[in-house]
C-alpha cells in the first residue's frame, strides 16, 4: 500500500483524516450518531467508521431521517448494511411527524424543509450531542465555508458569520446542554474521491448508481424515472432511456442522468468528463435559488 518514501496517495490521506475525525468525536462526545441515508457519501462515511474502530463494533448508532419518499432499493440497502455491521438504527420518520401533526406537508410535495424539524426532534429525544453528516465542501458554495466541526445552537441553527476558528486538526467539540455539533468527516473529499474510494475499496452501493434502462419523463431537461412517486402527466411522453442516479434524494425529486455506465469504473470515467455539478444536474430541490442550500442550512438542515 505504501511507497518506500513514506508517502500516502490522496485517498489514503483523506481516509486518515476522516478516521481521525471519527475517533476524536467518539472519544470526546457523550452521545454521537451517524446520519446514514444509504446514499454513496454516507456509505463511504459508514465504511470509514467501521475501519476507525475495527475490530470493535462502531461505538455509536446510525440514524436515518426517513421522508417516506425513499427509493425502495435504498431502504433495503440501508437495512442490510446496518445488519451486517451490527449497529443500532434509529429512524426519524417524517410521515409519523405529519400524522402526529408536528409538521405539515408543503404544497409543492417536497419534504426537504420539513425533515429538518423531524431531525431536530429526534436529536433532542435521543439526547444526541454530535451528528456525523456526509456533506462535502465541494458540493455547494455555502458548504465551502463550513467547518469540519460545525457548531449548532439549541435550535440547530448555523450562523455562518460566527463560526469557531478551526486550527490544525485540533477540533473543539464542546457544547452546552441542548446544543450540538455537526461533524463532517468527508469535508475535504470531492465527488471523484468518493467514487475513487468506492472503486479502490470495492464498497457495495445501491444499484441505482449504475445505469439501467428505465421509463422516464423529461421535465425541464431533468429525467425522472416513472415509479410509485412519479406518474406521467396527461399527454406527457414516457421515454425508455439508459440512466443512472448521481445522488439519491427523495424519489419524487431526484432526477437521473443519461448513462451507459454499468460499473463503478465506467461511472468514474463518465464523471471525469461531466461538466455539471452533481447537485445542479439532478436535484430539483436545489434549483430554487443560488442560496437555497445556505438558507436550509441556517434552519438546521445538514
Amino acid at each position: 500500500m505504501t511507497t518506500p518514501d513514506h508517502r500516502l496517495s490522496q485517498l489514503q490521506t483523506l481516509e486518515a483524516e476522516s478516521v481521525h475525525v471519527l475517533r476524536e468525536v467518539a472519544a470526546e462526545s457523550e452521545r454521537p450518531v451517524l446520519l446514514f441515508s444509504g446514499g454513496k457519501d454516507s456509505i463511504v462515511m459508514l465504511e470509514l467508521a467501521r475501519k476507525a474502530f475495527a475490530p470493535a463494533r462502531i461505538p455509536f448508532p446510525v440514524m436515518h431521517v426517513d421522508t417516506g419518499l425513499n427509493f425502495p432499493e435504498v431502504l433495503e440497502f440501508r437495512d442490510k448494511r446496518v445488519a451486517e455491521l451490527g449497529v443500532e438504527l434509529v429512524v426519524a420518520s417524517v410521515p409519523d411527524a405529519i400524522a402526529a401533526g408536528t409538521v405539515r406537508e408543503e404544497p409543492n410535495g417536497s419534504r426537504n424543509r420539513i425533515q429538518t424539524p423531524v431531525l431536530l426532534d429526534a436529536v433532542e429525544q435521543h439526547g444526541f450531542t454530535a451528528l456525523f453528516g456526509g456533506a462535502r465542501r465541494d458540493e455547494d458554495k455555502a458548504r465551502a465555508k463550513e467547518r469540519v466541526f460545525s457548531f449548532r445552537d439549541e435550535f440547530g441553527q448555523w450562523d455562518p458569520k460566527n463560526q469557531r476558528p478551526e486550527l490544525w486538526d485540533l477540533y473543539n467539540g464542546r457544547t452546552h446542554l441542548g446544543e450540538s455539533i455537526r461533524v463532517f468527516p468527508l469535508s475535504n473529499w470531492t465527488e471523484l474521491d468518493i467514487w475513487g474510494y468506492i472503486a479502490q475499496e470495492e464498497i457495495a452501493i445501491p444499484q441505482l448508481y449504475l445505469a439501467q434502462e428505465r421509463d422516464v419523463v423529461d421535465r425541464q431537461g431533468m429525467l425522472y424515472a416513472v415509479n410509485q412517486f412519479i406518474t406521467p402527466r396527461d399527454g406527457e411522453p414516457v421515454l425508455r432511456e439508459s440512466v443512472r442516479y448521481r445522488t439519491v434524494g427523495d424519489a419524487n425529486l431526484t432526477a437521473a442522468v443519461r448513462s451507459t455506465a454499468t460499473t463503478v469504473a465506467e461511472v468514474i470515467a463518465e464523471i471525469a468528463v461531466t461538466r455539471l455539478t452533481e447537485r445542479g444536474a439532478t436535484r430539483g430541490d436545489d434549483k430554487v435559488s443560488d442560496a437555497a442550500m445556505e438558507d436550509r442550512k441556517k434552519e438546521g438542515y445538514f
Binding site: 500500500m1 513514506h6 508517502r7 500516502l8 496517495s9 490522496q10 489514503q12 490521506t13 483523506l14 481516509e15 486518515a16 483524516e17 478516521v19 481521525h20 475517533r23 476524536e24 472519544a27 467501521r50 475501519k51 476507525a52 474502530f53 475495527a54 475490530p55 470493535a56 463494533r57 451490527g86 465542501r137 465541494d138 458554495k141 455555502a142 465551502a144 465555508k145 455562518p160 458569520k161 463560526q163 476558528p165 478551526e166 486550527l167 490544525w168 486538526d169 485540533l170 473543539n172 452546552h176 470531492t190 471523484l192 467514487w195 479502490q200 469504473a265 465506467e266 468514474i268 470515467a269 463518465e270 464523471i271 471525469a272 468528463v273 461538466r275 455539471l276 455539478t277 444536474a281 445556505e294
Partner: protein, 433 residues
C-alpha cells in the same frame, strides 16, 4: 469506454499527493480572480457554475471572482466573510485551497487557513508594490511555519509587463523575508485576469525565466516537510472490543491504541516509551485501515498494539525511550488571540494539545508583537482581538511537547474559554527563556 473518458478517469483516480494551499490578499488585489482562474483553467468549474457567474458578471470579462463568493451577505456586501475551501486537481496533484479573506478578521482567518497549509500564496498588486498587508500575510505564514511561500505579483498587465517593476517588488520582498523564517520563497509575475503565468507561461513577459504558478504548485517538493525523525504517537482512543463486531470473535484479547502518527516512523518491534508513566515496551503490531502494516508515519491514522499489558489511555504519548518530548507544566508560546475579551494575566483557560486537554492559567504576557513592523511591545499587559504575542502559561497537568519549529503537531495547541466553549486562541510553542 471512449479513449477520452478512459484518459479522464485515469487522471481522476491516479495515485497523487495532496498540496494544501492558503491564499491571502487585500481587497482589490485580485485574489478571487486568481482562484477563479486556477479553478477554471484546471477545469474544476462546472458548466452550471460557469453559467451562473456569466449571468451575474458585469462588463467584458466573465467575473471569475464570483466563483468564490459563496454566502448571500458576501455577494450583497461585496466582501468575503470566512475561510472557504476549494478543490481542484491536475494530472500531477490534488489541491486543497484555503481562501482567506484579507480584511475582516484577517489575522484570525489567515492563521486558520495557514495552520494546515504546505504552501502560502501572498498576492501583491504590481501597481502598489508591497503594502502593509503583504508584510503581515508573509509574517503570519512564517509564524505558522508554512514551509513554502509564493509571492504572486498580480496585475502585471497594468504596468506594461515591466521587468523593472517586478524586480523591484521581488527584491524588496526578499529583503523583508530575511527577517522572517521563510525556508522557500518564490516570486511569480502574473495577470490573473488575463491568465498570464497562472497555468501557462506568459508570452507577454519573455524576460521571466521561472515557471507558471500552477507548474510551481504541481512540482514544489513537500514530502520532506514532515518530521520523520522524532517518533510521536498521541493516543487518541482505546479500542477494546467489549461488544464484538460481526467477525471479531478472534479478537477477545484485543487492546489497541488508536491515533494519528504526529512524527517519526513507527514499526513493529520498535522499543517504545509511554508517557506519562515512563514505562517501556515494544510495538507488537500496527493495524492500518486495511490490516497490519510494517511502518506507520505522518499523517496516518493507525492502531498500535503493545507487547506488554500497560495502563495506557487517551492523552498519553508513545515515543522512543531516548527521544522523548518535554514533559512540562510550563508553556512558552506565541499566541494568536481570537476573542473580543482580551487575554490577561491570571486568566484561566482550557488548553487542547494533541489528544490531551488540561486547564491552564496565564502567567504573563511577555510582549505583544506589531505584525506590521515586527516591533515587540514589552509594556503590553494583555492581547486584544487579532493580537499576537508571547505568553507564558502554567498548566494543571503536564503536557508532552516539542518546539513548534521542530514539530508542527506536538508544538501547537488551541485555547478554549470554558464558560462559552469558544475557541479563543492558537498557540505555537517556543523554546523557554
Amino acid at each position: 469506454m471512449s479513449a477520452l473518458s478512459q484518459a479522464a478517469a485515469e487522471i481522476a483516480t491516479a495515485r497523487k499527493d495532496i498540496l494544501r494551499i492558503a491564499t491571502a490578499g487585500s481587497v482589490d488585489d485580485g485574489k478571487s480572480t486568481l482562484i477563479g482562474r486556477l479553478l477554471y483553467d484546471s477545469k474544476a468549474v462546472f458548466e452550471d457554475q460557469y453559467a451562473a457567474i456569466e449571468r451575474a458578471s458585469r462588463g467584458d470579462y466573465v467575473d471569475l471572482a464570483l466563483l468564490t463568493d459563496g454566502l448571500r451577505a458576501e455577494r450583497e456586501q461585496g466582501i468575503t466573510i470566512d475561510v472557504a475551501y476549494r478543490y481542484f486537481t491536475t494530472p500531477r496533484r490534488t489541491f486543497i485551497l484555503a481562501d482567506t479573506p484579507g480584511h475582516v478578521q484577517y489575522t484570525r482567518n489567515m492563521v486558520t487557513g495557514a495552520s494546515t497549509a504546505d504552501l502560502a500564496i501572498v498576492l501583491v498588486d504590481a501597481r502598489k508594490g508591497m503594502v502593509e498587508q503583504s508584510r503581515r500575510h508573509a509574517f503570519l505564514a512564517s509564524l505558522l511555519r508554512v514551509p513554502h511561500l509564493v509571492v504572486a505579483v498580480n496585475k502585471m498587465d497594468l504596468v506594461d509587463w515591466s521587468e523593472e517593476v517586478f524586480e523591484g517588488i521581488r527584491d524588496e520582498f526578499a529583503a523583508f523575508a530575511t527577517k522572517l523564517e521563510v525556508p522557500d520563497l518564490t516570486v511569480v509575475p502574473i495577470s490573473a485576469l488575463q491568465g498570464d503565468n497562472v497555468v501557462t507561461r506568459s508570452a507577454n513577459m519573455p524576460w521571466y525565466e521561472g515557471t507558471s504558478l500552477l507548474h510551481h504548485l504541481e512540482h514544489v517538493h513537500v514530502a520532506s516537510d514532515r518530521n520523520l525523525v522524532d517518533a510521536r504517537f498521541p493516543v487518541q482512543y482505546v479500542i477494546r472490543p467489549q461488544v464484538l463486531g460481526p467477525d471479531s470473535a478472534a479478537f477477545h484479547d484485543y487492546r489497541g491504541y488508536a491515533g494519528r502518527v504526529a512524527a517519526g516512523v513507527l514499526r513493529p518491534g520498535d522499543e517504545v516509551q509511554v508517557l506519562p508513566s515512563g514505562l517501556t515496551t515494544t510495538i507488537a503490531a500496527i493495524d492500518g485501515p486495511n490490516g497490519p502494516l510494517d511502518a506507520a508515519f505522518p499523517p496516518m491514522s493507525v492502531t498500535v498494539r503493545l507487547a506488554d499489558d500497560l495502563d495506557v489511555s487517551r492523552g498519553d504519548m508513545i515515543c522512543r525511550p531516548h527521544n522523548a518530548p518535554h514533559v512540562t507544566q510550563d508553556l512558552d508560546a506565541m499566541v494568536s488571540w481570537m476573542a473580543d475579551a482580551p487575554l490577561v494575566p491570571r486568566m484561566r483557560l482550557a488548553v487542547k494539545h494533541t489528544t490531551r486537554t488540561v486547564r491552564a492559567m496565564v502567567k504573563d504576557v511577555q510582549y505583544r508583537l506589531d505584525v506590521n513592523s515586527l516591533h515587540r511591545d514589552t509594556d503590553a499587559t494583555g492581547l486584544g482581538l487579532n493580537d499576537i504575542g508571547r505568553v507564558r502559561f502554567r498548566t494543571t497537568q503536564p503536557l508532552f511537547v516539542d518546539d513548534y519549529h521542530r514539530n508542527r503537531v506536538t508544538g501547537r495547541f488551541i485555547l478554549i474559554d470554558e464558560s462559552t466553549n469558544a475557541t479563543v486562541g492558537a498557540g505555537m510553542l517556543t523554546p523557554a527563556g
